[in-house]
Amino acid sequence: EAGVAQSPRYKIIEKRQSVAFWCNPISGHATLYWYQQILGQGPKLLIQFQNNGVVDDSQLPKDRFSAERLKGVDSTLKIQPAKLEDSAVYLCASSTQDTQYFGPGTRLTVL
């Protein structure tokens, strides 16, 4: 069974630029999550989707971050404009009813 796929794996941008990350969950997993993992910290949930609807986006900085999952499968996370403090690894996960499976992440560096 294929795991959660993410791209790109690495991205370097300058502050105030925009960036987008893509995630393809495990086939059949209705729930998809985006986490932000800052160096030295545990992952923090940004947004959770159930199919193509948002379940929880309370921790998403909506002035600059947006995410969508239009067809209930793939998802994109966008940052516009990026700030220095957005440098982190962005992890995508998908879940069965009770267990989350994580992708390899996208490491974002904002200069």
Binding site: V4, Q6, T31, Y33, G40, Q41, G42, P43, K44, L45, Q48, V55, D56, L91, A93, S95, D98, T99, Q100, Y101, F102, G103, P104, G105, R107
Partner: protein, 114 residues
């Protein structure tokens, strides 16, 4: 509110020695508890999970964890550490229903010396 504390930021053990990584949680109801491992440049891999039943759970790679409700702990153990176990270990607590997002601890970095 949920929270997870991993009191040890960094642990160093010799190869072949036993290992225990500590995890304390705060949650108002019966929690889902997880241990994940993250190797450099990789995503998180599930080691084991506890939902209910037997408080000693077995996971992959020879790891086990024991749920102790009275101590609000879910410590991870391995009787004999291998050099390939060097990684970052995260404990997480999740909700039983509704938005079942996970709350992670800050992680424990394990170094294994020959």
């Amino acid at each position: 509110a949920q929270s997870v504390t991993q009191p040890d930021i960094h642990i160093t053990v010799s190869e072949g020695a036993s290992l225990e990584l500590r995890c304390n949680y705060s949650y108002g109801a019966t929690p889902y508890l997880f241990w994940y491992v993250q190797s450099p440049g990789q995503g998180l891999q599930l080691l084991l999970k506890y939902f209910s039943g037997d408080t000693l759970v077995q996971g992959i790679k020879g790891f086990e964890a024991e749920f102790k409700r009275s101590q609000s702990s879910f410590n991870l153990r391995k009787p004999s550490v291998h050099w390939s176990d060097a990684a970052e270990y995260f404990c997480a607590v999740g909700a039983l229903s509704g938005a079942n997002n996970l709350f992670f601890g800050t992680g424990t970095r394990l170094t294994v010396i020959p």
